[in-house]
Subunit: 340 residues, 2 copies
């Protein structure tokens, strides 16, 4: 077995890369939510001064990347590799952002698992000796995503009670060599695509929960850790329905996720904000993890965090052709080095 693998899906990083800086940018609704004061920047207008939702989303990702670079004390030409992707067709947000940053670029598509996919690959590149510094990031925008996947927001369609709300947000991070900061990426568990036959594009949480549970169960069995090892286990955007289902499925697998389990889609909105099952979208986990949760890590309020990025690989074409929604979940363990 390859030296750094500790199981079928889990890699232990030999020299755990450190995360030098993170940044999060959110839209107005997210700014009004329970975590609002903990994001780095709250935009007051969904268009952010741009002429389209797509340009607004690009500006948001670009701002998060520039903010992370600046906090790490770098300009973009000091970064070796960039990993990014987003929800829009042809991952246009990531592509246009990478164009302007002029960094050697690997484009990703993992739907809302992209935040963890990027952090996984960026960390592997550092540990493998292939890069000194990587920029990783992702984003989503309520209006650009809803238009593409369901219907334009302007139509005012009725949302189903189990629907989630695509978060308007972006997040980015700079990963570097060990020792650059106390926050290290220690384990990477890569997911397989799971598909239990959910076909409702308004029910992403139920579709994604089995993928999240499968990755969690593999992570624990392969690492030999128990859920209690972590101060916080957080899934990306299962929402209230999906995260309860995930907890049940992991329980059926013999593990209790316990009181330290939460979901970024649940955390980002207050039930009174009328988002039904909670937040979703690539920017949901990216902004919550690289914003509020990172601040708690830095303060030492939490020291060991397991982030499970969850992606519903929904396509309008295959949906219309009667196919179900394949889903995936990737996990990374992030630990304060004094605790490792």
């Amino acid at each position: 077995m390859a030296t750094k693998r500790i199981g079928k899906q889990t890699i232990r990083l030999q020299n755990p890369p450190s995360v030098l800086a993170t940044a999060s940018v959110v839209g107005p609704k997210e700014g009004q939510g329970p975590l609002g004061s903990e994001f780095d920047l709250v935009e007051q207008d969904m268009l952010m001064g741009e002429k389209s939702w797509e340009r607004a989303e690009q500006k948001m990702l670009s701002t998060a990347c520039q903010m992370a670079l600046s906090r790490a004390g770098f300009n973009s030409n000091q970064i070796d590799l960039m990993f990014a992707g987003d929800l829009l067709n042809q991952t246009i947000t990531a592509n246009f952002t990478a164009r302007d940053l002029n960094i050697p670029f690997f484009g990703l598509y993992g739907a809302c698992s992209t935040m963890v996919e990027g952090l996984s690959l960026g960390s592997l590149m550092i540990d493998g000796g292939f890069a000194d510094h990587c920029l990783v990031g992702t984003s989503s925008h309520y209006a650009s995503a809803e238009r593409q996947y369901r219907m334009p927001v302007e139509y005012g369609g009725q949302r189903k009670p189990w629907a989630q709300w695509t978060v308007t947000a972006s997040g980015a991070a700079i990963v570097g060599p060990p020792g650059g900061s106390p926050q290290s990426v220690t384990l990477v568990t890569t997911g397989k695509i799971m598909d239990l036959g959910v076909k409702d594009p308004n029910d992403m949480g139920s579709a994604m929960a089995p993928a999240a549970a499968d990755t969690l169960l593999h992570h624990f069995s392969e690492s030999g850790r128990l859920p209690s090892y972590y101060d916080l286990i957080v899934t990306g955007d299962l929402g209230s329905l999906g995260s309860e289902l995930c907890r049940k499925l992991v329980g059926q697998g013999g593990l209790d996720l316990g009181a330290n389990y939460d979901d970024c889609g649940v955390m980002i909105f207050d039930p009174e904000q009328d988002t039904h099952s909670g937040g979703s979208g690539c920017g949901c986990s990216a902004s919550v993890v690289y914003g509020p949760l990172w601040k708690r890590l830095v303060k030492g309020e939490i020291n060991r965090m397991l982030v499970v990025g969850t992606g519903a690989l929904l396509s309008t074409v295959t949906y219309q052709q009667g196919e179900s929604i394949p889903c995936i979940a990737h996990a990374v363990a992030i630990e304060n080095s004094k605790e490792v």
Copy 2:
């Protein structure tokens, strides 16, 4: 600088992974082209017995993956990681194929550069000690791609004389530890996104040529190699117009690509097949490299090959919003080990 980097964009693999097996599957038109007899499987019908173009494309990628697995003597649960992507929104071909193979999966979006993006990342994972065996693959289908990016083929729209023809094809490879075969991946040069302002979605070759030239120039200057080092330098799918432009741009950079430069988009069709500027699509480079060119490598007719995957990150949304087409190109050097 990270130990394995030999320049801003180029990585030298310390223990060059070997490619254990490859496979290529093409459609009927490609089977009638000059390379027709050298592909592993030529489908006789564009629908391949399926009820949609999308399902046909998925069957084609799945067949190539299974063929590569079988030639390497593996079943899918012996593979540690899969890297794949395609041209369709949400990379549905790759996702559904990965679902059925049940391999830990990283989804990519690099348009027609995906073949090299996947081979690059798969090789890095082996060299980094993160995986023993990776499956990499990609595909495209004329009818599914034209419907999504331009107009349904059934409309019978007039094609512009400088247009390229999206190839119906797939290709896959199994990358493994050094010494598993004579064919090794020795250098990886990762591209930056280039955009010189081309806005015509029928002129992908001109849009992509600057990205290809930039990656080639970085590859040669960072590796210290000259174009004459390689028996074959092959770009993905610049077509006849784009490849001539690429040759000129590299010439302006001070290097002569010489007589050993060719383009998969030029090679795959005969001018009499009326494809205008030649072939394009993820499956173009994947099927030509993993099919005919691989056979020449194995026979020793060529021993050192530089493959430059070229991707036009075209989006109908940003095109309609007046944006230009960002492009990217990644390169991998593949060498018979007796020659290294």
